[in-house]
């Protein structure tokens, strides 16, 4: 708590935090990302990761995927506040545990090491659809796709083998099956 003579109410006890993935369809116009991100920072919501790109060039629609944590009340607010933004068309919100939704994140890993160690690394990556994008005799750049926590784990694991650089996209999401989010 802040100083006892500061203003306003004492924070009441926090509820349980859930991780949610928001998918937001927006007009791809200047400033739209600032509006979305500004909403999060201005209202004190947390952003764990963020991925954004245009997905429909004729209609100028971008799709923003935001991973966030919050109490159920905060998650509800995030959704409702996002929907109020003028360039926002629709907002989907998924729990991370949701089995009906696929979450994926891509990472590029650069390993600088002797051949043997590089091979060991590639073997570790096998589960995560590795694609070798670049190779020299002392280095390799490998692309993997996985869940966030899997990539976290991999980064940790590969450090001792010569992982020197990691670049990640942040999670993106899509529902399973033939249905699309309306």
């Amino acid at each position: 708590m802040s100083s006892p003579k500061s203003a306003y109410s004492i924070p009441t006890k926090k509820g349980k935090l859930d991780t949610h993935i928001f998918v937001v369809w927006v007009d791809n116009e200047s400033g739209v990302l600032a509006r979305v991100v500004g909403l999060f920072s201005g209202r004190g919501y947390n952003i764990e990761s963020l991925a954004v790109a245009e997905v429909d060039a004729t209609k100028n629609i971008s799709r923003i995927t935001i991973v966030t944590t919050g109490t159920p009340q905060v998650i509800d607010q995030i959704k409702l506040q996002l929907k109020k933004l003028v360039p926002v068309h629709k907002v989907a919100d998924f729990k991370r545990e949701d089995k009906k939704v696929i979450f994926k994140e891509m990472a590029l890993l650069k390993i600088v090491a002797k051949k043997k160690k590089i091979e060991k690394c590639l073997k570790e990556c096998k589960k995560f659809n590795p694609v070798i994008l670049d190779k020299t005799n002392k280095s390799v750049v490998v692309q993997i796709t996985a869940l966030r926590r899997e990539i976290d784990k991999m980064s940790k694991k590969l450090k001792p083998y010569g992982l020197t650089s990691t670049s990640r996209t942040g999670a993106i999401a899509m529902t399973r099956g033939a249905d699309t989010f309306k």
Partner: protein, 588 residues
């Protein structure tokens, strides 16, 4: 090929099509093409303010008192930054404003050009939406969209930033037809089932209370009529937030006064003890709820609001009805009349005990104060002002502080759109320019700013505006020589350490009035108060009334916000005065 118009011409064409009559503004380099065009549009009158914040508040006063959006025109850089306070104020209190700002030419954006600032960046968090127009072809669409966003759903301010080269560039313009029913991002799709649930709750409650807010005012004058009908039909007690005053007649027996931090004893106790709470167009603001964990612990809660994000934001409710207030209560009335004709009588019986309890609370007379025949008590001054003006259709604005609360407590409003005060942001300096805007909208009505001597100095320069346009606004200053509200907190919470809250070196307000070319009146004796107020009311032009009041008076009742509603501090008349201790200190 159709005729081409410059960006500046387009701005006015759009304003004309939106039936705008007044712009509140201040010129500068980046809006000169627009100012140049002004002379060609006789239906639009420009009101030259003395500071851009004043333009914003004047437009707010205009909007609140007329129901139409207020339009503001400012230059780039400092013009835009000066209006930020007013935009934020309008955002917090849901007031429709359309602000047009000039910007440096597009090719200079981002170069730190003279009077450049990132206006859309700065105003993004304090507007519903804003636009930087970089292509002249976009301008007509953006202008009309701006009006739509500002005025639909939950209203609020918007800003259009127009670079100077765009004001010169040319394009064609097709006449715009206002849609009858704008829908934009508004939500008005409540279901019959929800109305049924509401009526079910109404017909079971034993201790109900209706709690209304600014949303009723924003829903239009019709909503206040509907509210009256609804509340009389169900027979419930009704309380209001600061912003909602006037939606229900303040002198009606069913009205139990304002609630919240400086609300009445009966209103706050009713909120605490009720078993059904119907929130209509209010937002469970922290000045209202007090301690959240102990807020109205025994009640079923209903929330009727047009903004879905207001629902469950602070207080979880049992029934949410998202829609326009007027529409929702209208359909509730219809349903009751059709299906539950007996409701009025059965309600009366069921809640008669509750009304008895409320009467008991009323006898506490929580707005009471000890009057004096030596000094003018500020509450007494407001009461006299009310008595002497209640027979006219009077519009009241205020600044922020104790005087604002006394005005809310002791001036009774019987109609909506007559009470303009800065609630959400609490902006000192709001009242005087707001009065300018109100008087513009209602040239023949009586407009009074109930002011504090500290607040009024923040925008006093707008007296020049009042004089220039012959606006007979009355600035009624409750001069206690203190930032009274600050002094009160320091007395109650900071061991009477009156750090920097004394208003040293105040101007002579009578001379100040004369310097601006208006009338100054001073009163410091209760005996002369009535005559002097009458003198003010009889004077045809603007007046600054310097009412010297008891500097030590505190504003009661008061809930220190760490406390629940049923633990208020009452005034000096009350023996068992609660003292603020420990944790409560952090909460005011």
């Amino acid at each position: 090929m159709s005729k081409l118009y410059t960006g500046a011409e387009i701005v006015f064409k759009c304003l004309e099509d939106q039936e705008v009559e007044y712009i509140f503004g201040y010129p500068g380099g980046a809006v000169l093409p627009i100012y140049d065009e002004l002379k060609n549009h006789s239906s639009i009158k420009h009101i030259l303010v003395r500071h851009e914040q004043g333009a914003g508040h004047a437009a707010e006063g205009y909007a609140r008192s007329s129901g139409k959006p207020g339009v503001v025109l400012v230059t780039s850089g400092p013009g835009a930054t000066n209006v930020v306070t007013a935009l934020t104020d309008a955002y917090m209190d849901s007031i429709p404003l359309v602000c047009i700002s000039g910007q440096v030419p597009t090719h200079l954006i981002g170069t730190d050009a003279f009077q450049e600032c990132d206006t859309t960046g700065i105003t993004r968090p304090c507007t519903k939406h804003n636009w930087l127009v970089k292509d002249i072809k976009e301008l007509p669409k953006v202008m009309h969209e701006a009006f739509k966003v500002a005025t639909t759903g939950r209203p609020g301010p918007v800003l259009i930033d127009i670079p100077k080269d765009i004001q010169f560039a040319k394009t064609n313009y097709t006449k715009f037809k206002k849609e009858k029913k704008l829908n934009g991002k508004i939500h008005n799709k409540f279901s019959e089932n929800e109305i049924n649930q509401l009526i079910d709750l109404i017909s079971k409650a034993k201790k109900p209370v209706v709690y209304t807010g600014g949303g009723v005012i924003n829903s239009g004058p019709q909503a206040s009529e509907t509210l009256k009908e609804f509340v009389r039909l169900i027979g419930f007690p009704i309380t209001s937030t600061l912003q909602g005053l006037g939606a229900f007649p303040g002198d009606d027996n069913q009205f139990i006064g304002m609630l919240g931090m400086h609300g009445t004893y009966e209103a706050n106790n009713a909120m605490h003890d009720c078993d059904l709470l119907i929130n209509i167009g209010a937002r469970f603001d922290d000045r209202i709820t007090g301690k959240i964990d102990e807020f109205s612990p025994k009640s079923k809660k209903v929330h009727i609001d047009i903004d879905p994000s207001s629902i469950n934001k602070i207080i979880k409710v049992d029934l949410a009805i998202v829609g326009d207030v007027n529409e929702v209560i209208k359909s509730a009335i219809k349903k009751i009349n059709k299906k539950q004709n007996g409701l009025k009588d059965s309600n009366k019986q069921r809640i008669s005990k509750w009304w008895e309890q409320i009467q008991k609370w009323r006898t506490k007379d929580s707005l009471g104060f000890i009057n004096s025949d030596k000094e003018i008590k500020p509450q007494h001054a407001v009461k006299r002002l009310y008595e002497l003006t209640k027979n006219q259709d009077t519009f009241i604005t205020t600044e922020v502080g104790q005087h604002q609360m006394w005005a809310a407590q002791h001036y009774k409003f019987n109609k909506p759109n007559r009470w303009m005060t800065s609630g959400g942001l609490g902006t000192m300096g709001y009242g005087l320019p707001a009065a300018v805007g109100v008087q513009i909208a209602h040239p023949d009505k009586l407009v009074i700013d109930i002011a504090g001597e500290a607040s009024v100095l923040m925008t006093i320069q707008e007296m020049s505006t009042a004089v220039q346009y012959n606006l007979p606004i009355k600035i009624f200053i409750l001069n206690n020589q203190y930032m009274g509200m600050v002094r009160q907190w320091q007395e109650l919470l900071h061991e009477k350490n009156y750090s920097e809250s004394y208003s040293e070196a105040l101007p002579d307000f009578v001379k100040l009035a004369e310097a601006y070319g208006c009338k100054g009146i001073k009163a410091d004796n209760p005996d002369e108060l009535d005559d002097k107020i009458k003198e003010m009311l009889d004077y045809k032009g603007p007046v600054i009334f310097d009412c010297h009041v008891d500097p030590n008076e505190n504003c009661f009742p008061m809930i220190p916000s760490g406390k629940p509603h049923n633990q208020m501090i009452l005034g000096p008349n009350d023996k068992e005065e609660n003292k603020i201790t420990g944790k409560g200190k952090s909460l005011v």
